[in-house]
Structure formats: structure tokens, C-alpha cells
């Protein structure tokens, strides 16, 4: 029997690698671009003596030096100042102000998924519903998002960034994210499929003959897979958030990444990607945690066993 802790371990390792790897890739990409990084970030005719900037931004001593210094600073929560997007603003500030929006958006969008999944697992949601959910899920998020954006723009005009409008946008965004691209239907059908598959297992049938409850038997065996599915869904939402945030104009991480990308403000791009990587790593860790927890629960030696 394969050692149970290998899978969670791999996940934990991956989770640790992710936030380190993503900025590394992007750094490599900055240096892969034609022209020297400093002048890409701040064109000579915008800021004449680019040499000073290169030095100030650690761009003058090659990719490795830049990466290590950036990482080092990032570890202490210092991401430097924005170069282009909002010159002079600490990127940390931008990050701090963005993550809550994205988190809120994704969590809001995830709630219906969770409910749906639970409903499917407990056989509350009838199969007939799936068809409807799937039909809705066929619309790409961008289409829903642009309708939402139109409504918001027309309704709020220049007040589209007031608290009320932002709340509305958050809800609409969550709705788009949750319904579009098969997010909800995927969660429902996925979980149902998993549970039905397990229900068919012989040990469950026998357990029924012994008068035990089905769920108490199947759950421990499916929890890992369920956690996996839920993580996949969350990731899906997370990456979907980029488009939804940009279209509906929510000041989240995705929008930050997009704006940073457009204005080639690599400080911001790095930080935003780092933020995403952190969130994704967090999900990995959670999944690993669930797996370990179930494994330990399963192995919890019963009362008064002298072994």
C-alpha cells in the first residue's frame, strides 16, 4: 500500500515552490524581452539618465541579482514603489488594497458552489437541475461580465467607484464568476459523480446491511478527492477573476495585474503574480491539510487498544 503521506507532501513542496517560482519565471521573462529592462520600464525620453534608475531598481547587475534582491525584500513585505502604473506608490500598498477585493470576489463566487456541492453530495439537488446549470454555465464569464459592466456604467456613471457601486459590482462579479464557465454546474456534477461512484463500492453496500449510515462510510474515503475538486474550482475562480475584475472594474489583484502588464510596470506585475501565487499556494496547503487530517482521523487508533 502506497505511503499515505506522499501526496500531501508533494503538495506542500509545490506550495512552497510556487511563490518562489512564479516571480523567477517573470524575471526571466523581463530579461528575455528585447532591450535592457531599465529602459523598457522607464523609456529614456520619459526619464533621461536611465543608468541611475537601473541602479536604483537593481536592474543593472543581471537577472539573478535583481531576483534575489526582489525576493529578499518581498519576504519582508517590501515590494518597492510602483514605477509606471502609479509612480511613487508603494506596491505593497497596492497589493494590500487589492487582495481583499479579489478574496471577497472569489469567496462570494465560491459560496453558491459550496452549497451546490453539498446539496449534490447529500442528494438534495435533483439531477434534473444539472441540465439548467450546465446551460447557464455555457456562457463565458466575459459575456456576463460585460453585461454587468454595462448596467453598472449606465446606472452609476462616474460614481461607479463609490462604496455602493463597488458593492453592487462585487455581487455582479461574483455572480458572473460563479455561474459562467461551468463553475457551479461543474461543482455540482463533479461532486455528485464522485459520491455516486463511491456509493457503488461494495463495502458501502455491506455497511448498509450492517445498518450503518452511507455518508459516514463514504465521506472519509472521498474527502481527499472532494478537497481536490474544490481547490480546482477555487483556482478556476481565481484566474477567472482577472477578466471579471478588469471588465467590471473591480480594484482587485487581477485588475492590478492587467494594468501592470499594460503599463509594463514589472514591479507591479511581479507583486501581483506573487500575490496570486500565494493565494494558490494557500489552497494547496489547505488541500494537503485536509488530506493529512483525514488520514490521521482514519488511522486514529480506537479506544483502549494496546498496540
Amino acid at each position: 500500500m502506497k505511503r499515505w503521506w506522499i501526496r500531501p507532501l508533494v503538495r506542500v513542496v509545490a506550495a512552497c515552490l510556487l511563490p518562489v517560482a512564479v516571480p523567477a519565471v517573470i524575471t526571466a521573462f523581463i530579461w528575455a524581452l528585447p532591450g535592457d529592462p531599465a529602459s523598457i520600464i522607464c523609456p529614456p525620453e520619459l526619464c533621461g539618465g536611465t543608468a541611475e534608475l537601473a541602479e536604483a531598481w537593481n536592474l543593472d547587475q543581471g537577472a539573478t541579482h535583481f531576483y534575489t534582491t526582489w525576493m529578499g525584500a518581498a519576504m519582508t513585505g517590501d515590494f518597492g514603489n510602483s514605477w509606471r502604473l502609479q509612480p511613487g506608490v508603494p506596491v505593497g500598498e497596492l497589493l494590500a488594497s487589492s487582495i481583499p477585493w479579489t478574496a471577497a470576489l472569489v469567496v462570494l463566487a465560491f459560496v453558491p458552489l459550496l452549497v451546490g456541492a453539498a446539496g449534490a453530495a447529500a442528494r438534495i439537488i435533483p439531477r434534473q437541475v444539472d441540465a439548467i446549470l450546465q446551460a447557464v454555465g455555457l456562457t463565458p464569464s466575459v459575456v456576463l461580465a460585460l453585461c454587468a459592466a454595462a448596467v453598472v456604467t449606465i446606472t452609476y456613471g462616474a460614481f461607479a467607484f463609490d462604496d455602493e457601486a463597488m458593492r453592487v459590482k462585487l455581487l455582479l462579479g461574483a455572480l458572473c464568476l460563479g455561474l459562467a464557465d461551468q463553475a457551479l454546474s461543474g461543482a455540482v456534477t463533479g461532486v455528485r459523480g464522485l459520491m455516486e461512484e463511491e456509493r457503488k463500492q461494495r463495502y458501502v453496500q455491506i455497511a448498509i446491511l450492517r445498518g450503518e449510515s452511507v455518508l459516514s462510510n463514504t465521506l472519509p474515503n472521498t474527502l481527499g478527492a472532494l478537497a481536490g475538486q474544490m481547490r480546482a474550482r477555487l483556482l478556476h475562480l481565481l484566474s477567472g477573476a482577472v477578466i471579471v475584475e478588469v471588465v467590471i472594474r473591480i480594484d482587485g489583484l487581477g485588475d492590478l495585474l492587467w494594468q501592470g502588464t499594460l503599463s509594463q510596470d514589472f514591479g507591479v506585475v511581479l507583486a501581483a503574480a506573487f500575490g496570486f501565487a500565494l493565494l494558490s499556494a494557500l489552497l494547496l496547503l489547505l488541500q494537503a491539510l485536509v488530506e493529512v487530517a483525514t488520514a490521521l482521523h482514519v488511522r486514529r487508533s480506537p479506544a483502549g487498544v494496546v498496540s
Binding site: 512564479v22 528575455a32 450546465q134 455555457l138 464569464s141
Partner: protein, 271 residues
């Protein structure tokens, strides 16, 4: 739904969507103010844009933009999925660990981040959906590989192979026909088509964002129009501009893409 019908419908959708791409004009035809904002009509059939250029040309160019990349992305996923399935049949611990490692790291990458980075990396002359689509396919692969592996191990993985060996089948035959052909096909086809659909939607998404900020598109040359341009043109209907026909056409195309994936999924359902 009966398989033959499903296949027929899927093929029909595919043809309707992508074949026009082959006949797409390189540039939109010259403007004709007489047709400006012309709705669905006899000629041009799908109406015209603000300067009277037929929307059908938008649709065709959009088809050309997405057709090949989406197809290749789908194939890539199918290929990687097959790999995952076959790995599970080798029953080698190391192979499985490697597959999982790959899955964990790649699967955990925030897709849009990677896609945007790739989009930036592509030089503006070679700007095309293809690299983005392939990246997306690679990012989507772990899911397909997992599912294929699950199916394979439900077959009994290595034991299944051995059993068939005992019946005197050659390894190649077992892997290609019995495992891939007979058992993995439904999963792989579904995954492949879903990826195709995602790529098309991704293109619409990215292009739409570009149009919105009047930026050059990441996914196609600026002489070309994408389906997103249709949606953007149509979106103005919300602002009382007579361009709803653009919205309808755009949504219709999106709908057909979605239907195609539904039909394929129906068609390949395991018996």
C-alpha cells in the same frame, strides 16, 4: 440523445463556426455609409457595422483567429491526457509521482497570470492566439491527465494490461486500442473539446479587454477583427445605439461553440 445525431450536430457546429474562417477576407471590405448600422438583412446577411462593413466578415475573421489555435490546444490536451492515462497503466510508482508533481506545480499556477505573461512575451509581429492557446492547454492538462489516470486505474491499471497480455495481445494494441481507443476516448474527447471551448472564450475575453482599453489585441493582428469586436460593437446597444444585431451575432457564435462541446460530450458518453 443518440450518438449518431450528436456527432452530426457537433460536426455541424464545428463546420458552421470554423469553416467560414477559411474564406475570411484578409481585410474588411471598404466602408459603405449607405449600410451603416444596417440590421439583419438580405445583403449583407448579418447586417453591418458603424461604417457599413458587413458583420459576417467580422465573424469569418474571428473564426480564422480562433480555429487553428483552439484545435491544436484541444489536441495537445488529448495527447497529454493520453500520456497520463497510459502512465497509470505502467503501474510505476515513480512515473505516477512524477505525473503528480507536474500536475501539482502546473495545475497550481494561476492561469491568467501565465497567459498574460506569455501574451506580453510574444513579439507584436508574431502576435497570435496560438502560443496563448498552447499555454492554456498545458495549464489545463493536469486535469485531463488526472481524469484519464483515474479511468485507467478503474480498469485495473497494470493488472488490466497483464490480463490482456495473457490473451496474447501486443502491448501497442492493448495501449492504443483497448486502453486509449476503447476506454480513455470519451474522457479525452470531452477534455479536448472543453479546452477548445475555453480557448475560444479566452480569446474573446482577452480581445474584449483590449478593445475596451483601445489597446492592440494580444491574440490577433490589428487588421483583423475578433468575435470580441462583434460583442463590443453590440454592447453599445445598451447605450441605445442600433447595434443589437452585433450582440446577437456575437452571442450566437458563443452559443454555437458551447453547443458543440455539449454535443461532443453527448456523443462520446461511455456506453
Amino acid at each position: 440523445m443518440n450518438r449518431k445525431l450528436a456527432w452530426a450536430l457537433a460536426t455541424l457546429c464545428f463546420a458552421v463556426l470554423f469553416v467560414p474562417g477559411l474564406f475570411a477576407p484578409e481585410h474588411l471590405s471598404p466602408p459603405d455609409m449607405a449600410n451603416a448600422y444596417l440590421g439583419f438583412s438580405s445583403a449583407p446577411p448579418f447586417g453591418a457595422d458603424a461604417s457599413g462593413r458587413p458583420l459576417s466578415e467580422y465573424a469569418m475573421q474571428g473564426a480564422r483567429v480562433v480555429a487553428l489555435p483552439a484545435l491544436l490546444a484541444g489536441l495537445l490536451v488529448v495527447f497529454l491526457g493520453t500520456l497520463g492515462g497510459l502512465l497509470a497503466c505502467t503501474g510505476s510508482q515513480r512515473a505516477e509521482a512524477a505525473a503528480q508533481g507536474f500536475g501539482e506545480v502546473v495545475g497550481a499556477l494561476p492561469r491568467m497570470v501565465v497567459v498574460l505573461v506569455v501574451a506580453l512575451l510574444v513579439p507584436k509581429d508574431a502576435r497570435s492566439l496560438l502560443p496563448i492557446a498552447l499555454t492554456w492547454a498545458v495549464l489545463a492538462a493536469p486535469g485531463a491527465m488526472d481524469e484519464a489516470a483515474a479511468v485507467a486505474s478503474r480498469l485495473g491499471g497494470a493488472r488490466f494490461v497483464e490480463a490482456l497480455r495473457a490473451h496474447g495481445f501486443s502491448r501497442a494494441r492493448i495501449y492504443l486500442i483497448h486502453i486509449v481507443g476503447m476506454n480513455l476516448r470519451p474522457v479525452l474527447m470531452r477534455q479536448g473539446v472543453e479546452t477548445m471551448m475555453q480557448v475560444v472564450f479566452l480569446e474573446i475575453g482577452l480581445s474584449y479587454l483590449a478593445v475596451q482599453d483601445s489597446q492592440p489585441s494580444f491574440t490577433h493582428g490589428d487588421s483583423e477583427k475578433s468575435w470580441a469586436d462583434l460583442l463590443y460593437f453590440g454592447y453599445q446597444a445598451f447605450l441605445d445605439i442600433p447595434s443589437s444585431h452585433g450582440l446577437f451575432l456575437g452571442l450566437a457564435l458563443v452559443g454555437v461553440v458551447a453547443l458543440m462541446s455539449v454535443f461532443v460530450t453527448q456523443a462520446v458518453r461511455a456506453r
